[in-house]
Symmetry: C2
Subunit: 108 residues, 2 copies
DNA sequence: TCTACATTTCGCTAAATATCGAAATATAGT
DNA sequence: ACTATATTTCGATATTTAGCGAAATGTAGA
C-alpha cells in the first residue's frame, strides 16, 4: 500500500502533477522545470525528491545538467501515466508548449 | 486538472485509500467503516466528505443508514479503481475480510 | 587545482490537514 | 410528537507540508 500512497501523495500537489505531465514531453533539468513552474529552485528540487521517492521519476547526468525523466520501467507508474494523458487543462497545455520550447542554454 | 488533483489528494491518505478499497467489497455505512478503520465517527465522516467532493463515492439512504458506495459512473474513477484492484497488502486483505463480515446490526 | 555554475540541503514560516470529543442535526420507528 | 440513534458539524490541537533564501555540495571544464 505504501507505494500507492506515495504516488497519490506525490500527484496530489499541483506543482508536482504539472512536473510529471510536462516530463511526458521530454526529460528536463531543474532549471528548465523551474522556469515553467515559476517557483524557486529549491522548491522544485524538493518536489523532484518527492517524485523520486515515489518512484515516479529517475534522473541521469548529461554534461553539466541532471535530466529528470519519467520512470516508465515501473508498471504502476505506467498505469498512472496512462490516466494522466487524458487531462484537458489550459495550464497543462501551456506547460506542454513551454516544455517543447524549453532551451537550457538560455536559462541555466 | 482540479478533478485529478482532488482524486489524488483524496487517495493520498492511508485511511481514505483503505475506505475506497473496502468499498470495492460492498457499500457500507459510517458505523461499519468506522469499526474497520478504527478512528472516531467524526473522522470517518470527514474522510467520506472528502471522497465525495473528489467524486470518488456516492451515498444512498437505506432504512436508518446511509450507505456509501463507489461512484463507478465516473470514468476517471473507474480507471483509478482499476489500478487499485492490484494492491497486494496485508492491511487491505484484512480490511477486505472485515468488510465481508461487517454486520451493522451488531455495530450501529 | 581553481572557477563557475547546477543542484541539494538547511532552517524557518505560513498554510493545510488529520484527528478528537462534544454539540447539533436528521430521521426511523414507536 | 417523542425517543433513540445514525450522521454531520464545530472548535481546538498537533502534525505535515509547500515555499523561501542562504549556505553547502558536487562537478565540468579551464
Amino acid at each position: 500500500m505504501k507505494n500507492y500512497l506515495k504516488i497519490f501523495k506525490a500527484l496530489g500537489d499541483r506543482s508536482r502533477l504539472r512536473i510529471v505531465i510536462m516530463l511526458l514531453v521530454k526529460p528536463m533539468c531543474v532549471c528548465e522545470i523551474r522556469e515553467i513552474i515559476g517557483t524557486s529552485m529549491s522548491t522544485v528540487s524538493n518536489h523532484l525528491r518527492i517524485l523520486k521517492e515515489a518512484d515516479l521519476i529517475n534522473f541521469q547526468k548529461e554534461e553539466k545538467y541532471i535530466n529528470y525523466e519519467l520512470n516508465i520501467t515501473n508498471n504502476l507508474v505506467q498505469e498512472v501515466l496512462n490516466i494522466l494523458k487524458d487531462i484537458d487543462d489550459k495550464i497543462i497545455t501551456d506547460d506542454h508548449q513551454k516544455a517543447v520550447k524549453a532551451d537550457r542554454s538560455n536559462l541555466c
